[in-house]
């Protein structure tokens, strides 16, 4: 009996300990994930070689963990010291030096390593940062629309049948009573039917005309052919390169900015063929030769892949612009990505699954405003909002459960038009 209890106790405490451990590990790995995505993901994947080596099992390959810390903070110094593993890696990867991260502390690097060890398996799941909320809610909306439509039709059919039954019954009762009925009119000459039909036609036609007019100048699903077949699926999807690595402007500027050619070359100096990835196809089904597309990039960059030298004859790539807003609309990426902490996918769709990019949203004002009505601002996290004293009080007193963009004026004209 006694023994049993202690056994139980041990098991119990062990469970709690384990839970705590996993929880704390989870938290750690969570930080590690953020750090990994921020600092490492543009050049490294966990189980795939990108510009840099796959990081899975990195701790086993480096016998001294301290050297990893040093390497991350300043790889050049470690190579200089002649630490064998460092020199091997350096030579293995065409002597491309790893960016130094002097700001990362031991604990941070530990967190990243934990994430690599722990989260390797979860990485694939974490790799799709899309919060499927938008497409999901939209599909549910269209579902209910369909439902309403079917219901309407059923009700209309029932009404029609009832009307017919009614008139038949009346006819029968008239006949029974012997009253002479008017000459029956065929339904296509029935004025009521004609009127109803005309009204329906007017409403339907008007609706379509209105929709058509409203759609002028909008270009949803626009997918032009670009000078280089650049696949977001390969880069952001399969290789999990952070969006901000290339579109860094999204953090600071109104423009997310298409990366300059030198940013492409950061990685493509080393990666000169598309060999290991899955086959990629255009919309029309033809296969894309990834390696040939990389060669196109070299031509633009003025890079000679055999001598590994710039020829100095580069020219900028003339990409076809997909997302166009009218001149009277002011849109700022930094406001949404940096301050508002929005995912790129919210507006650009599942970009990590797109081959050539198409315009996912219609970029209409209604679409913007709807999102502003629903989206919550970083009200307590961002100290900027501390000036909204009343809202903070209301939140505290539970008079309000959240502050949406609309509440702080996000649907007012001059937030976007000036």
């Amino acid at each position: 009996m006694n023994k049993k209890t202690s056994c139980f106790r041990k098991l119990f405490s062990a469970t709690i300990l384990l839970t705590f451990l996993t929880l704390s590990l989870g938290a750690n790995a969570q930080d590690g994930k953020a750090l990994f995505n921020q600092k490492c993901a543009s050049c490294h994947a966990i189980d795939k070689q990108l510009v840099g080596p796959a990081l899975k099992g990195v701790e086993d390959r480096w016998d001294d963990k301290k050297m990893i810390y040093e390497w991350v903070r300043n790889s050049a110094a470690v190579i200089k010291k002649g630490y064998p593993r460092a020199v091997t890696v350096y030579n293995e990867f065409n002597k491309i030096q790893m960016t130094a991260f002097p700001e990362l502390k031991d604990a941070d690097i530990d967190a990243i390593l934990t994430y690599i060890n722990e989260g390797g398996s979860k990485a694939a799941a974490a790799a799709t940062p899309a919060d499927g909320a938008t497409p999901a809610s939209q599909s549910s909306e269209s579902d209910s629309n369909l439902l309403y439509g079917i219901l309407t039709i059923i009700l209309a059919v029932i009404a029609l049948i009832l009307l017919q039954v009614n008139s038949n019954l009346r006819k029968m009762s008239d006949e029974a009573e012997g009253t002479s009925a008017a000459e029956p009119v065929p339904f296509y000459r029935n004025k009521v039917y004609i009127a109803v039909f005309a009204i329906l036609l007017f409403l339907g036609g008007g609706y379509m005309l209105f929709q058509g007019a409203q759609g002028l100048g909008r270009s949803q699903n626009y997918q032009p052919e670009q000078p280089i077949y650049y696949s977001h699926k390969v880069h952001a999807g399969i290789n999990q390169i952070n969006c901000l690595y290339c579109h860094g402007g999204a953090q600071e500027s109104k423009h997310a900015n298409i990366p300059s050619v030198n940013v492409c070359m950061n990685c493509h100096m080393g990666i000169n063929e598309y060999a290991k990835g899955p086959k990629i196809y255009r919309e029309d089904g033809t296969e894309v030769d990834g390696t040939a597309e990389i060669q196109k990039l070299y031509k633009f960059a003025g890079w000679n892949p055999t001598t590994k030298q710039y020829t100095g004859e580069g020219k900028p790539i003339e990409w076809i612009r997909i997302h166009n807003l009218p001149d009277h609309v002011y849109f700022n990426h930094a406001q949404h990505v940096n301050a508002g902490k929005q995912q790129c996918q919210t507006c650009h769709g599942e970009i990590q699954k797109m081959g050539e990019v198409y315009q996912y949203a219609d970029l209409s004002m209604g679409w913007c405003v709807n999102c502003h009505r629903e989206t919550k601002v970083q009200f307590t996290d961002n100290k900027f909002y501390s000036i909204y004293e009343k809202f903070h009080e209301d939140l505290k007193n539970k008079k309000m459960d959240s502050v949406t963009v609309e509440k702080i004026g996000g649907t007012e004209c001059q937030k976007c038009h000036y």
Partner: protein, 1045 residues
């Protein structure tokens, strides 16, 4: 009892029905269509068809072209700021250029400069447009033909120079204050023995320089310190507008006139002048005299402050009283006095030096320790040069930054001399009057494309760094000089070498370039005064004339000597006093108008056709339209220089006004006034575009408030009482004036609430804010023909009020004149009358207190403009900036100068964050909403609360606030109790605070601080109390009536 009245035009002064009718038509709408309804239907049909056709076209394919190799300091979409220096005509103002995606688009003052403290002027603000001037010279020319390479050009010049054997080589420039340029010039002159460098200022300060040479042994200009002066006497010196260093002086002047509510005190400013200048308009007391009396006035003043001299008697009693008043004030202030004269006459300047010496101003308000380097021109040397040229003694003449064929008094003689010079080279930026007569033309860069430096005051350096690669094939003038003196270094390298060796370390040099300014102040010095020259000068002074007309040549705040005449922003900026645009004219007095038989009646201002007069001075004759302005000496005619440029100087400059530099005379120094002018009226008329009568307040005169200092001290709460009275009338029960008196719900302002405070005591009316606003907000230039129709687009205008007394018999005393300036912009009313009347809700209220204008919603009914009591809404009558989809659809309908603003080159100046408005929409001040949004985002990104001025930290400044040289405008978050705007309203300036037309209960977001004048005269509206009482009674009456019902 005398009544005082504020008025903007003679028509308003008399305020007849006829006049009211004429001004009520705000936009001067003239419908000349014979069958407008049919036309309307036709247009409707056509535009529908056109829209359908346009819509069925395919969407244009746009490209996004990123950098090949992006510089890491540039993020497309984020502006970079570079410290540099505005330089023109010798003037130098430290500035910061805003560069967006590679294009400089806005100029701000450099806060780090202790001279300007971030202040600017209208010309500085407009200089960014000069960079994109379509009339700039695009490649080097030799004998009028393009030269393909600089090397070929250099070779041609070298050949020319080798053939001038023994003749003089002369470098003729504007005043040069740049140490490196001076060193380059020295090495150039050394290469050609006997070569000379002559500095020539079209608006010269030679008189002052020569007088200082005689009095202090230094041909220099000391530092004036207007902020330290308790009494300032200006003798024909427009130091707030155009004299020497106006940005610096305006800041100092305003600093001495900021009112501390607890202990109200300010400097006293008395002005003596012939015409009404911007500075005179700001004076506490002002007296007029003839220009020929200038020396006599100065000498009388010297005698009155105790100088032992017998001064010639003056005839005008009011002037005599004025001199006594000034003398008493000066004596009372002692060494805290400052007397300045804008005269270019050595005699006058010698007397002024004697006055300042007598008062003990040297070493106190005038500092010889630091001297001003922006005017060094020597008139006599210039005259000698022209003589040498005509004698054939000059072999080579290199001209930089000056245009004598246009602005030299004897231009014909210069021209004939120039023809005799074998090698003439012009470095000027365009084919101006002088350049076209030169054999070689090789334009210098614009200052925004240049390296360089300026030492505007000794020990105060300001650097110039390029903000954009040269747009055209231009070359630094110094590089050319270096090249021609056998040195192949480019000036950029020369400059960097020169300074980095001076600064020692690279870090120090980098910091200097980044800051833009390096200052090493010297200790204050009184200089060593010698009165010997004064005595002989004083003996030559005569009483001046007392009959006949005299002419004053002045320069306008906007245009100066005329170098920037092709800048449409400056041409369209209304003159601070006359409010006229796009022309020069003869400004005459009321009395002269009467003599000439020009009726100044109700229609005088509404009628744009002005009588033309013929003015004869010796052999010179010219015809000019006239403008009647109060406050002129009765026999003085004032004419602005800087107009009448040649065809090749640009579309905005050509055929605008007339050149009057030929009226300048030379008598040891250039003289800018003329005695013995004859004037007669001609039968012709000329249309003058001036904004004086646009935007009237429909007879409401509670727009401005002004008090005398003494009166304000006696009764400091007079404005507060008025406000209390309003509360008493409208919100007796709740005491909440804001909530009561309207049916509409109050707007909540949960976060920021924007507000602006404008100190009328600091505002000098210089117009820097107007141009800054134009530049920041893509405000369109409309051209003269459209200004004539009241279609000017300025979001911020400066209303100029005259205030005069009317005696019991109804006569207005125009001599006893006050002028008040009031910047007027959208007041962003919390209870806005414009919002309720818009049928499409294109103008509405934001949760931050902005009265928002949404252009893409506006259908152009103009109901809002109709209902705006401040008349600040402007309507786009045409496609002024080329915003329409059909390019060039306005050519021929609008002026050439407007079409020039539509060219691709000029449009580079547009701010990409502000919509370019198309035809048919209303626009108005937005409180620089793009800056508000940017500032808020900056705070959000840095995860901190917004800074709106508390502890001197600013995330947001409006363009007008930032441009203002006197800090008259303060903007910020009213909900933040620590922001300056809240402090001004609630703590610091509660007594001077007022809202314009507050009794209308529109609840403006712009508050004003009343103007205070340090004078013993009666100031402000005296009849007001009666009016208020009457109004009060009326209300009571109404209430009674309502109760009876």
């Amino acid at each position: 009892m005398k009544q005082k009245k504020y008025w903007q035009s003679f028509g308003e002064l008399k305020s007849s029905e006829n006049y009211q009718e004429r001004v009520q038509d705000e936009f001067n709408e003239l419908l000349d269509a014979t069958s407008p309804r049919r036309d309307f239907l036709k247009y409707l049909g056509f535009s529908t068809a056109a829209a359908a056709a346009a819509a069925s076209c395919e969407m244009p394919v746009k490209k996004s072209i990123p950098y090949l190799n992006k510089p890491d300091t540039i993020i497309p979409g984020v502006a970079n700021y570079y410290a540099t220096t505005y330089t023109l005509d010798g003037d130098a103002v430290p500035v910061v250029a805003k560069v967006r995606d590679g294009r400089p688009i806005k100029i701000e003052g450099n806060d780090l400069s202790s001279i300007t403290k971030g202040g600017t002027s209208a010309r500085v603000q407009a200089s960014v447009l000069g960079l994109y001037d379509t009339a700039r010279l695009r490649f080097p020319l030799a004998n009028g033909k393009e030269v393909s390479t600089f090397d070929a050009f250099d070779k041609m010049v070298a050949e020319g120079m080798s053939g001038i054997a023994g003749k003089q080589v002369v470098l003729l420039t504007e005043t040069i204050s740049s140490p490196t340029t001076k060193s380059v010039i020295a090495s150039f002159l050394a290469k050609y023995p006997g070569a000379r460098h002559i500095q020539y200022d079209a608006l010269s300060a030679s008189g002052l320089l020569n007088a200082n040479q005689a009095s202090f042994g230094k041909r220099a200009i000391p530092s004036y310190q207007f902020d330290k002066a308790k009494t300032i006497v200006g003798l024909e010196a427009d130091f707030l507008g155009t004299w020497l260093s106006p940005v610096e002086y305006a800041r100092q002047y305003a600093a001495g006139r900021k009112i501390d509510q607890k202990n109200p005190a300010m400097s006293k400013h008395i002005q003596f002048e012939g015409m009404l200048s911007l500075t005179g308009a700001n004076a506490d007391d002002r007296f007029v005299h003839r220009p020929s009396e200038a020396a006599a006035v100065a000498l009388n003043l010297y005698a009155a402050i105790g100088g032992s001299v017998s001064a010639p008697a003056l005839s005008d009693d009011r002037l005599k009283k004025g001199i006594k008043l000034a003398a008493d004030a000066l004596k009372a202030s002692g060494s805290a006095s400052l007397v300045v004269s804008g005269s270019n006459d050595v005699t006058v300047q010698l007397i002024v030096n004697a006055i300042n010496q007598q008062l003990g101003a040297y070493g106190n308000t005038i500092d010889w320790g630091t001297t001003l380097n922006t005017r060094q021109g020597d008139d006599a040397a210039m005259v000698q040069l022209v003589k040498d040229m005509n004698d054939g003694a000059v072999g080579a003449l290199l001209i930089h930054g000056v245009n004598p064929v246009y602005d030299y008094f004897d231009a014909k003689k210069f021209e004939s001399g120039l023809a005799k010079v074998a090698v003439s080279v012009s470095f000027n930026d365009r084919e101006d009057e002088t350049s076209v007569l030169c054999k070689f033309q090789i334009a210098d860069h614009h200052f925004l494309e240049s390296w360089g430096d300026a030492e505007m005051k000794s020990g105060y350096l300001s650097f110039i760094q390029p903000t954009i690669a040269p747009l055209f094939k231009t070359r630094a003038f110094q590089t050319s000089l270096l090249k021609w003196s056998g040195n192949d270094t480019s000036y950029g390298d020369y400059f960097k070498q020169y300074w980095s060796s001076k600064f020692g370390s690279q870090d120090a040099w980098d910091k200097a370039l980044r800051d833009g300014v390096v200052e090493t102040p010297a200790s204050t010095s009184a200089g060593s005064y010698s009165g010997s020259a004064f005595a002989s000068a004083a003996s030559t002074v005569t009483a001046g004339k007392n009959s006949g007309k005299e002419i004053v040549l002045y320069s306008k705040v906007a245009l100066g000597a005329g170098k920037e005449a092709n800048n449409p922003w400056l041409q369209e900026m209304p003159d601070p006093i006359t409010k006229a645009t796009w022309d020069n004219y003869a400004v005459i007095s009321f009395a002269t108008a009467k003599e000439l038989g020009i009726a100044v009646d109700d229609n005088y201002e509404v009628e744009v056709k002005k009588p033309v007069v013929k003015i004869t001075v010796g052999k010179n004759e010219l015809t000019l339209p006239v403008l009647v302005v109060p406050g002129m000496h009765k026999d003085v005619i004032a004419i602005a220089v800087g107009y009448g440029r040649s065809e090749k100087t640009g579309k905005a400059a050509a055929n605008v006004g007339q050149n009057v530099f030929n009226l300048v005379s030379f008598n040891n120094t250039f003289s800018y006034s003329v005695a013995n002018a004859a004037v007669e009226k001609t039968k012709e008329t000329f249309k003058l575009a001036y904004t004086q009568t646009h935007n009237q307040y429909e007879g409401r005169d509670e727009v401005i408030r002004e008090f005398a200092l003494n009166e304000f001290k006696k009764n400091p709460t007079i404005l507060k009482d008025k406000r209390d009275e309003l509360v008493e009338t409208f919100a007796k029960e709740t005491g909440d004036y804001r909530a009561e008196g309207t049916l509409y719900p109050n707007h909540p302002y949960p976060g920021a609430k924007w507000g602006m405070s404008i100190d009328l005591n600091s505002c000098i009316g210089c117009g820097a804010c107007t141009v800054a606003c134009t530049s920041e907000n893509n405000v369109a230039v409309v051209g003269k023909s459209e200004v004539l129709r009241s279609h000017e687009m300025h979001w911020l205008r400066i209303d100029r009020y005259y205030a005069t007394y009317r005696d019991e018999s109804g006569n207005d005393n125009l001599d006893d004149l006050n002028v008040v300036f009031m910047p007027m912009l959208c007041q962003h009313c919390d209870n806005a009358p414009c919002e309720n009347v818009c049928p499409v809700n294109a103008t509405n209220h934001s949760s931050e207190g902005l009265n928002q204008m949404t252009y893409n919603r506006c259908i152009g009914t103009r109901y809002c403009a109709n209902n705006c009591p401040y008349k600040v809404r402007r309507f786009n009558w045409a496609d002024y900036y080329g915003a329409d989809s059909f390019p060039d659809n306005q050519r021929g309908k609008l002026d050439d100068s407007v079409m020039m603003m539509n060219e691709d080159l000029t449009r580079m100046v547009l701010n990409p964050d502000v919509t370019v408005r198309s035809r048919g929409v209303i626009e108005k001040c937005s409180f620089c909403v793009q800056r508000l949004q940017e500032g808020k985002l900056k705070a959000k990104k840095e995860n901190r609360p917004l800074e709106t001025g508390a502890d001197g930290k600013w995330d947001i400044k409006t363009a007008c606030q930032q441009a203002c040289p006197t800090n008259a405008i303060v903007f910020g978050n009213v909900n933040d109790k620590n922001s300056p705007v809240s402090k001004i309203r609630n703590e610091e300036q509660t007594n001077r605070l007022f809202y314009s037309l507050e009794q209308l209960h529109v609840l403006p977001s712009v508050s004003y601080l009343a103007k205070i004048r340090n004078t013993d005269r009666q100031v402000g509206i005296v009849e007001e109390e009666h009016a208020a009482e009457a109004e009060h009674a009326e209300h009571k009456e109404e209430k009674k009536e309502a109760a009876a019902h």
